[in-house]
Amino acid sequence: MARPSAPPLLALSGVFKRFGAVEALRDVELEIHAGEVIALVGDNGAGKSTLVKVIAGVEPADLGTLEWRGRPVHIGRPHDAQHLGIATVYQDLSLCDNLDVVGNLFLGREITRIGVLDEVEMERRTRDLLATLSIRIPDVRRPVAALSGGQRQTVAISRALLGEPRLVMLDEPTAALGIEQTAQVLDLVERLRERGLGVLLISHNLGDVKAVADYVAVLRLGRNNGFFDVTTTSQEQIVSSITGASDNAVTRRATREGEL
């Protein structure tokens, strides 16, 4: 599968991010095209979530260039990313526990009529959105603190899809989900691709990655460590790229058990 020649939706290069003594991202580059699902993989602490936060404007990069559809942009705060059409589901879910589902979905972009919150319209759209995503939540007026972990995750995902995002970043969206819900989220990712959105999906589950992603970008210790076309790459290659060597505990086990 050849990558399209149009300018990418988002292109990063030379991104650095440091937290005190920890250099979380070192000279990272990444391109995401519209209509593509890119999986971002890497071991714990590789810098995946940090990269997502850089793009989302939550933790702006120390250094590096970001181009949005061919034009250089500066993303210094969450608003900047939202304006471009970048929607994010964070690993730590980022919901306000005391607000209800409707309040969380529309937080920061409430619908108002002459300065007054239009609760009815927001609730109607919430129900419509949850229905299209076939998400069942018993009562959209309950504080999200009262929801189960998986329900909270689905709320976080719907929150990202509200509005008309062009790029959706999902940081381990299926981590708290059951089998059925995981399949639904993966279906959803495919539907987003069909609608021509760009998707950046972080997951530790290489099975899921192979199932839905077009390309896999590997981060290791804060650096790029490979970019693969899923259709032509074996899981083994990806694993060795994640762990950094072909001779390590994971591949040894795998070869022994003849799994890969």
Partner: protein
């Protein structure tokens, strides 16, 4: 029977639905104002049994004016509590504002209206300073406002230094705040009727819009019930007030402030941001909320209301002196907010808790004063009630949000 809330909702009868919702609230711990209303009734009945003058129109009317000063301060404190912070300076700020007003109007001969505005703006400025150090510099609000408690008290002493006690003009605007009564009986009844009608119309319009949009709505029976309850309380209060001197201006202003600020908190995007901060600062920040600004604004709200409350307190005694700032003013204002049902943990509460809480506190004070027992008893009762309120707050929070420690003790001041 038509089924309100059709979409996926249980197809039970109205009353059952109501009971169900109540049960869920009980289980969920979000009882709201039910415990405090029951508590208030118990307090009133107890004092009435101990002293038959307690529920007299005269005493209740005085009570309705006495609550306003502290109540105004408590309303401001609620904004700060909602974002999960605390403001310990409100007593000193209210004293500072009343001192500023007294010196400007009495000693410098400034007309009262601009002096009132300046006193209120002085509060706003003080709040900005607190908010700046908390939200921008990152010092915990506890420490910033503790410094404020000392510093603004010192500034008030400096302003009052040469004067000792300043008597306000008895015919002046500020004196009238708590001295003026609408003695025409129509006034109190008109207010009761207006309030009830406004409540009903708002609720009804909401039902109509929700029905049209196809989202669940309250059953008409529930709305009638609520409106009926409100009407009974409002007209009973109007009747009692009319037995004495009529509708007090101070009470009218307090109610108007409560309604407006309640509207701001529940129905505007700004109010939503205040609640969001109390429910998760990081989530709010990622949603694009300007966290620093919302924090600063909450402190400005708190100090401005403290200044306004100070003017009402000065009006009640018609003078300002160096002893205007008492420590129990601060404690009462915060206790009122918490007793009324605003959570100390942030994110949960309403302006009406200021009214309910301050009613509880002033009722105790007034009952104790009538019975001529020492204030020592008053402090002990109020302390007990406060502890009870915080226990209810903590338990209901635990019931509703589970015992996730990270949530229960999530009052960090990190950014």
């Amino acid at each position: 029977m038509s089924v309100p809330g059709g979409i996926g909702g249980p197809t039970a009868h109205g009353a059952e639905r109501f009971a169900d919702a109540f049960g869920r609230k009980l289980g969920g711990g979000a009882l709201g104002s039910v415990p405090v209303v029951l508590g208030l009734l118990v307090i009133w009945l107890t004092f009435q049994i101990l002293n038959p003058h307690f529920l007299s129109p005269r005493n209740l009317s005085n009570l309705s004016v006495d609550i306003v000063g502290t109540g105004m301060i408590a309303v401001g404190v609620i904004f700060v509590l909602l974002i999960g912070e605390i403001d310990l300076s409100v007593g000193s700020v209210s004293g500072l504002a009343s001192a500023l007003f007294a010196v400007l109007s009495v000693n410098y001969g400034m007309p009262e209206p601009p002096a009132i505005v300046l006193a209120a703006l002085c509060g706003t400025a003080v709040g900005f300073v607190h908010g700046f150090f908390t939200a921008v510099v990152g010092v915990p609000a506890f420490v910033v406002t503790l410094a404020g408690l000392l510093g603004w008290y010192g500034l008030m002493l400096a302003i009052m230094g040469a004067y000792g006690t300043i008597n306000l003009d008895d015919q002046g605007l500020v004196a009238q705040l708590t001295n003026f009564y609408f003695s025409n009986v129509a006034a109190a009844y008109a207010l009761a009727a207006l309030g009830t009608a406004a409540y009903f119309l708002t609720a009804w319009r909401d039902v109509t819009r929700r029905r049209a949009a196809g989202v669940p709505f309250r059953s008409p029976a529930e709305i009638f019930l609520r409106t009926g309850l409100l009407a009974v309380i409002a007209f009973a209060a109007a009747y009692v007030l009319n037995q004495f001197q009529g509708l007090p201006l101070a009470l009218l202003i307090f109610l108007v402030v409560l309604v407006i600020l309640d509207y701001v908190l529940r129905r505007t995007a700004y109010g939503r941001m205040i609640f969001a901060l109390g429910g998760g600062v990081e989530a709010a920040r990622r949603a694009g909320v300007n966290v620093a600004w919302v924090r600063i604004s909450a402190f400005m709200m708190s100090s401005t209301m403290a200044a306004i409350g100070g003017l009402f307190l000065a009006s009640r005694i018609n003078s300002v002196s160096q002893t205007s700032v008492s420590t129990d003013l601060l404690m009462n204002a915060i206790a009122a907010a918490v007793i009324g049902g605003t959570s100390l943990f942030g994110g949960r509460g309403s302006t009406w808790s200021a009214l309910l809480g301050v009613l509880v506190i002033q009722s105790i004070a007034s009952g104790v004063a009538l019975m001529d027992i020492q204030t020592a008893v008053q402090f002990m009762i109020t302390g007990g009630v406060l502890l009870l309120a915080v226990v209810v707050d903590t338990l209901s929070r635990r019931a509703q949000w589970g015992t996730r420690p990270g949530l229960v003790f999530r009052r960090d001041h990190s950014h």
